[in-house]
Subunit: 371 residues, 2 copies
């Protein structure tokens, strides 16, 4: 195992823990929020900006990078960290989720998904062996096992089939990873699937634990099942996962979702919300969401969020930010994405401090309304 | 006059001079290249990035800003410097050139151009009084007199008519400026027009000199007349302009054009080349232009320009930069614009040093081929 996970403090009012993950490209503190850098860049932000707003680990999407520029190109250019200029810890997802959400004409054979590229319609086969090969070439510090992520509302037979596949594929990934990672530069996380069915979740978790992954993710949540059922599932599944390994809730989420998951022992998160909302002129603030296209901001000289320390809030007025979106200037998406990422990173710092202070159960998520 | 222009050194091998312009928002050294911030932002770059690459003065476009967000909004948000977050010296053009190049259905009445907005088709009347009002509201350190900028190939009658208007309008601008600028926060430059006709240029220059502007621009060049005729015109007209006022060649240009104009006594320049080419994946480098979309750069691990000190050249490979353009990521235009601006600013520093060294006539423009 190349990844080292220290638990530095525990909150006595919940299952929350403060930790530090060490990787070959540096360390990051947990609970951690990973910005999403789909195609080797967090849209519109330089690596310097990412560091300025406190991003310590970035996620890249295997599906997008395998199609363009191709994992062999990323490998030839020094791996994802050097390629992107971030040069800090990075994680790649397995490609599974994007295949199910973006690609056309999916078919399964035993150990592959066959799909048409959303870019040029080319037929692509992706399975656990290919995913491990591609992620090894991308060279992120943390790779994810290739899983079958079924829709939230799928019938029980489809769910059971997905669990069978996810478990079988996890074993293949474990073996492939072991073969490829002779230099011990990458870690591999398993992904527990099972929808909101506890029996399937438990079956999946138990099978994956026996394979001894470096960390464990909860997949297939925040896909439409609703906040309550998501929290219930985390409540049930998190205790099944080993104490000494990082736990990662994939694709989540709003500040309140993150807090509830942290209180149940989750350590890592990723979500496109700060950047996607930022590109759409919606800012997270301590007073709730701000939709900058609203005409009320035309002459507003105030900062986006007076309590924020980011460059966007220190240098620009709401009126100027609105103008950038009105005329379609790309600096608008850049600045609001930057602010939103800072908002999320400050929230993670608040959560980390609450754990140190044994105060997690008293913490209230900022900007209560969802954007 | 609020603008102070010091001449610090002269090149003995040419008419080039090294100077410093002081404005209410700070000073800048000449020969100076102004980045173009059309709509209150240099596309894709933060003010911090502009300062990092050495931009000391930015140009804003009156035509665009009057339409959106409106000069009253910019005024209410503190003026263009505060609005844009640049907080350094800024200059606004008069709106004339854009009216002639962008707007539809132009008609003249005695002291107005009547046109339809390229945004919503609304009818707008713009003349010297309106231009002074708008530029006063925008509040840049340097405003430009409203001129009639005829096409390069126009018949003699149209040219003569344009000179009559330019001279009459300059007088109106001078008077309006005097009335409005009671706090002496803005300077006003006159614009010498006349195409490539020396008699018209001289007539215009003499009329404008009698009005005593804070600086003098050469307008109506680099509009299709070709390099040789442009240089000939500068050769003829620059000596007519007062020694002790800054001379500004509008809309120019390539490094070699800038050098030739500097050697003829020009101090200020602006051009969209570095940013427009940057957005189109064309980089200026010491070895000539690089078109990053070319497939030869797919696996190129080298920097864009090994001799450049900008963030783009220090942190990223050509292969990565090409990838950004291939997938349409906005970081691509941002990074190449940043590099190209640094390339131009380094060229201005080289020119300034050559003046100090009495060596201007030996200087050779970098990256000889035009992009």
């Amino acid at each position: 195992m190349t990844l080292r996970f220290e638990i530095l403090a525990r909150d006595s009012t919940s299952q929350a823990r403060l930790g530090r993950v060490h990787t070959p490209h540096g360390s990051f503190d947990t609970p951690a929020f990973m910005a999403v850098g789909t195609r080797g860049t967090v849209k519109g932000l330089t690596p310097d900006m990412l560091r300025q707003v406190g991003c310590r680990i970035i996620l890249g999407n295997t599906y997008h990078l395998m199609l363009r520029p191709g994992s062999d190109v990323v490998r030839d250019l020094g791996g994802l960290q050097k390629f992107s200029g971030f040069n800090g810890p990075m994680l790649t997802d397995s490609g599974g989720f994007q295949v199910f959400s973006l690609a056309d004409l999916r078919q399964f054979d035993r150990d592959h998904v066959v799909f048409k590229s959303h870019i040029d319609g080319a037929t692509v086969r992706l399975g656990p062996v290919e995913s491990m090969h591609i992620q090894h070439e991308l060279g992120a510090d943390i790779a994810m096992a290739f899983d079958d992520c079924p829709p939230a509302d799928c019938p029980p037979e489809r769910l059971a089939q997905a669990m069978d596949r996810t478990i079988r594929w996890a074993a293949i990934c474990r073996e492939e990873h072991e073969k490829r990672d002779s230099e011990k530069l990458q870690s591999l996380f398993g992904i527990v699937q099972g929808g909101t069915n506890f029996n399937e979740r438990r079956r999946c978790a138990e099978a994956l634990l026996a394979m001894d992954f470096d960390g464990y993710a909860l997949g297939g949540l925040a896909v439409g099942e609703g906040h309550e059922r998501m929290i219930t599932t985390i409540d049930q599944v998190a205790p099944l996962l080993p104490e000494k390994r990082p736990r990662y809730l994939m694709g989540v989420g709003y500040p309140v979702d993150i807090l509830e998951a942290v209180k149940r022992g989750v350590d890592m998160f990723d979500c496109v919300l700060p950047t996607r909302n930022g590109r759409n002129a919606v800012a997270f603030t301590s007073a709730g969401p701000i939709r900058l296209r609203n005409s009320q901001y035309i002459r507003d000289p105030g900062p986006l969020d007076a309590s924020c320390d980011c460059v966007c809030c220190r240098q620009f007025s709401r009126g100027y930010l609105r103008h950038l979106f009105t005329v379609g200037e790309m600096l608008g998406p850049t600045l609001i994405s930057l602010h939103n990422l800072r908002f999320f990173q400050r929230w993670m710092l608040d959560i980390q401090q609450a754990i140190r202070d044994n105060n997690c159960s008293m913490l209230v998520a900022p900007g209560a309304a969802k954007c």
